[in-house]
Symmetry: C2
Subunit: 213 residues, 2 copies
C-alpha cells in the first residue's frame, strides 16, 4: 500500500486521511495546529518522508495515544495502583483493574500475566503493572506473545521505551518511584508513539525471536 | 528427593554434600568460615530450614556464583562491553563475546537474542547485554524461552533481580551507567544467588507463562 505524502497538512487535509493510518510529511513540511488536534483525535500517525516501510506488519507499533489501560499490582503496589487509577480516570482514560484488591501476598507473574494477556487480546491499548521493583513483572509480561514490557524509573526511560522499543506494558517499582513521579512516567508512556522505521524494523526482529524460541 | 538439613555445617560436612545441590540450615544454625569457602567452590546452596520445595523443578534458580558469561552489545555499548570484558577476565570469569565488534549500527534484538540463546543452551551461566538504555535488550532476551532478563541501573536492582527474580541476563544502558557503576552492578549480579522458596515458586509461574503464551 502506497503511503500518502504531504508538504503541509491542514485541518481539512486531516479530515480526508483515513483514521488510524500513517502518512508521511516532507522534509521542512508543516502541520497546522488545528490539524494536529484532528490528527490526534483520528489516531493518524505522521512520520518523516521515507520513514514508512510498507513491508513491515501494520500492527508492530503500539496504539498511541492510549485510551484504554489494563492495570495490575501485587500487594506491594496497592496504594500506587489506586493513585494511578484515579489519575487515569480523571484524565478520561478507561481503566480495567486486574487486581490485586487486598494486602494479602500475591505472585507478580499472575498479575503481570493477566495484564499482558489483556493487552495481547487487544482488550486494552496498553498495560501498567506494579510490584516492588517492577523487574519481575517486566520479565513475566514479556513472556506473553505479542507484548513488549519495560520497567521505567523515569520519564526519560518511559519516552525511550515507547519511541525506541514500542513497549505496550509499563512496569513500575512501588519502592522506586513516588506517586507523583509515577503519574508523570505514565502520562509520558501513554502519549508517546513509536514512529521511526528503523525502530519498527527492530520490533519485527523481536517478534521473530518470539516465534522462534 | 529429601533435602539434608544441618544445625551446623563444618568444612568436613561441606565436603560430604553433593556439589551443586541445596541443603537446609536450621533456625539459629551456623556455617563455619572455612565451610563457607568450600560450599561456594562446590556450588552448594544453603537455604533456611523449610525453604526448600522438592516439588519445584531443580533448574529454576540461575547458576550462582557465575563462572561463564556470554556478553554482547549494540554499537552504542562497544566501549562499555570492552571495559566489562577486561574486568571479568581479570577476575577469572570466562567470557564469550557475541559482538558487535565495530561501530556500524546493529539491531539490539540480534545481539540480545544471541546472548540469551547461549544462556538458554547453558553454554554460559549468565549473560550481559548492552544497548542505549538496556530496555530493548531486556524485552528481546525475555522472548527466548528459559531466559529471564532484567535491566538494572544500580547495585540494588541487580541484587533484587537475582534474589527475587532469578534473572540470568543483565541488561545495561550505555547512556545510563558509568563503567565503574557497571562493574559494581555486574559483580553483584553475578555473585547473588536465588534461594528463597517463595521466589522460586514465582519463577515456576513465569515458566508456565512461557509455556502457555
Amino acid at each position: 500500500m502506497a503511503v500518502r505524502r504531504f508538504g503541509i497538512i491542514t485541518e481539512a487535509d486531516a479530515r480526508t486521511i483515513q483514521s488510524g493510518t500513517t502518512v508521511e510529511l516532507e522534509k521542512g513540511g508543516h502541520v497546522t495546529p488545528l490539524a494536529q488536534d484532528t490528527l490526534r483525535e483520528r489516531r493518524i500517525t505522521v512520520v518523516p518522508a521515507g520513514g514508512f516501510d510498507p513491508a513491515l506488519p501494520p500492527d508492530l507499533a503500539p496504539t498511541a495515544p492510549v485510551t484504554r489501560v489494563a492495570i495490575g499490582a501485587d500487594h506491594s503496589g496497592l496504594a500506587l495502583k489506586a493513585a494511578l487509577i484515579e489519575h487515569l480516570r480523571h484524565s478520561g482514560t478507561a481503566v480495567t483493574d486486574h487486581g490485586t484488591l487486598t494486602a494479602d501476598p500475591v505472585d507478580y507473574p499472575d498479575v503481570a500475566g493477566a495484564v499482558a494477556r489483556a493487552v495481547a487480546r487487544r482488550e486494552a491499548d496498553a498495560g501498567i503493572v506494579i510490584d516492588g521493583a517492577g523487574l519481575g513483572s517486566a520479565i513475566a509480561a514479556n513472556k506473553v506473545r505479542g507484548v513488549r514490557a519495560a520497567m521505567c524509573t523515569s520519564v526519560t526511560l518511559a519516552r525511550y521505551a515507547r519511541e525506541h522499543n514500542g513497549a505496550h506494558v509499563l512496569t513500575l517499582g512501588a519502592t522506586l518511584v513516588t506517586p507523583a513521579e509515577a503519574r508523570d512516567i505514565v502520562d509520558t508512556f501513554l502519549s508517546t508513539p513509536t514512529r521511526e522505521a528503523r525502530y519498527l524494523r527492530r520490533l519485527a526482529k523481536v517478534r521473530r525471536l518470539e516465534d522462534a524460541f
